[in-house]
């Protein structure tokens, strides 16, 4: 055993981490996010033991909705990352494709990828748990559409980061959804969050989507306002993500990231 060689290999990774802000951030926020998310879930169940009374379907439905969002966002990022991993990135950006064409193509592909994962999950819940997500009725479509747009938005935002900062931003790509999960109020109502967190949650479309899903399933009523707010915030963030993507593309052209997609 050579201490020198062990230290040498340690340095190889240490240098990589210390030279990359996304990598440092990745180390710090994972534990914080997990503790925060499960802390809120535990708090809620400790104080509201009857809220989900006989409503396993609510939790499962929210889990499926969240998974659809997760798959859409990660799916979009994966498409972008695949080009970097296969060293095909430059080929793609020297092809005569407009940014809009690249994004549209990725958006459609991400949808197909998500649906491939979603349909079997929906079909399994009925025979295994006697629950059907279709109980959400026609509003299921709007909730899915809203989640899809937000998933794509997150995908575009992360891809902008990859363009701007290069592959070191990859870890952020994997964990965006976990970062937002505590604020999304997926398994608990917004009131569970401390007031300051509630303010953050209210400017995200997620809270309206999951609040509405629970509202439909538990109270058997529809609050159109939730659907409206979800779409309004989605429109805002989606537009912002497109602007940011163009900005990052231009920044990458100045910085040289498009031809230097290394580690």
């Amino acid at each position: 055993m050579s201490i020198t060689r062990i230290y040498g290999l340690f340095l190889r990774h240490f240098y990589l981490i210390t030279r990359s802000f996304p990598r440092i951030l990745d180390l710090v926020y994972w534990p914080s996010i997990q503790i925060t998310l499960w802390g809120f879930i535990s708090n809620f169940f400790a104080s509201h033991t009857t809220y989900y009374n006989n409503a396993v379907g609510v939790i499962l439905t929210c889990a499926i909705l969240y998974d659809f969002l997760f798959r859409t966002s990660i799916g979009f990022n994966m498409l972008f990352l695949e080009e970097i991993w296969s060293r095909n990135f430059t080929n793609l950006f020297i092809a005569p494709m407009r940014i809009g064409e690249i994004l549209t193509s990725l958006v459609i592909t991400a949808l197909i990828r998500s649906l491939i994962g979603l349909v079997p999950a929906i079909l399994l819940t009925s025979p295994l748990f006697g629950i059907s997500i279709l109980d959400l009725g026609i509003f299921l479509f709007f909730l899915f559409l809203s989640l899809y747009i937000f998933g794509i938005t997150l995908g575009i935002l992360v891809s902008s980061g990859l363009l701007r900062f290069g592959p070191s931003f990859e870890n952020i790509a994997w964990s965006t959804m976990f970062l937002l999960a505590p604020f999304g109020c997926i398994y608990y109502p917004i009131e569970t969050l401390p007031e300051i967190f509630q303010k953050v949650a209210y400017v995200l479309p997620l809270v309206y989507i999951f609040e509405e899903a629970r509202n439909i399933l538990i109270n058997q009523t529809v609050n159109i306002q939730n659907v409206y707010y979800a779409f309004m915030w989605n429109a805002f963030y989606f537009s912002l993500s497109i602007v940011l993507f163009y900005y990052s593309f231009n920044a990458a052209k100045n910085k040289g990231t498009l031809i230097n997609m290394g580690e």
Partner: protein, 245 residues
């Protein structure tokens, strides 16, 4: 002869570092221009700017009389690039890769184009192979097929025969000579292989520290610097600190 590439006083700075310091050159139709220089001399940066992947800090680039800054998409339709540092998606078959890129370049008669390139580049038997499982020489020919799928008027080659064995290297050089003669295209060739440059290029640019330090026909440069071959000229210019630094 018409200039297909016109580079006018382009500069590229990364912060305070000047990667390219105001270079100008032209490449005519049916010409191969060699771009030589030691590592870090600005060759890849120059190619990146010609491909629209890098924005020049100042200066202008015209391809086929179109200003790159304003006509990026039209220019990318008639230009292509090959480098050992970029690859095609490894898990797709060769045919799938060529088909995908034919679509991206909106190639008409895709089947005929792939058949033509397969025959010319001897990749017919590889079409159904997984791209990632090919040898370096095979990958190189497939990348070249991808680079020619859109029948480019301008071809940028960054060390196209690096890491190839002499037989495959010679095949690629012969192919490029014949293809250029047949299609009258312009080629900018960045290479460290001086025999290759001497054989293929009508003229060469020598770059160092982001500047063009000499240019001319290979034989003229050899005579001018009193050397016996281009490699010796390259070494002399690369090492001559006092004159050019």
């Amino acid at each position: 002869m018409k200039n297909l590439i016109e580079v006018q006083n382009i500069k590229k700075n990364y912060g305070k570092k000047e990667a390219v310091k105001g270079i100008s050159f032209n490449v005519e139709e049916d010409e191969i221009l060699g771009l030589l220089g030691p590592n870090g001399s600005g060759k890849t940066t120059t190619i990146g700017m010609l491909l629209g992947l890098l924005k020049p800090t100042s200066g202008q680039i015209f391809i086929n009389n179109l200003k790159l800054e304003e006509n990026r998409i039209q220019i990318l339709e008639i230009i292509n690039f090959i480098s050992p540092y970029i690859e095609l998606p490894k898990k797709l078959t060769v045919k799938q890769n060529l088909y995908v890129y034919s679509k991206l370049y909106k190639v008409k008669n895709i089947k005929e184009r792939i058949e033509y390139l397969s025959e010319k580049l001897r990749i017919g038997e590889l079409l159904n192979s997984i791209t990632g499982e090919l040898s370096s020489g095979q990958k190189n020919r497939v990348s070249l097929a991808k680079a020619l799928v859109n029948e480019p008027k301008v071809l940028l080659l960054d060390e196209p025969t690096a890491s190839l064995d002499p037989e495959v290297g010679d095949f690629v050089r012969t192919f490029l000579e014949d293809y250029k003669k047949e299609k009258k295209i312009s080629i900018l060739l960045a290479s460290h292989n001086m025999n290759e440059v001497t054989r293929l290029c009508k003229s060469v640019l020598m770059m160092k520290n982001g500047e063009i330090i000499d240019q001319g026909k290979p034989e003229d440069l050899i005579t001018k610097h009193g050397r016996t071959n281009l490699e010796e000229v390259f070494l002399k210019l690369s090492r001559s600190k006092s004159e050019y630094n």
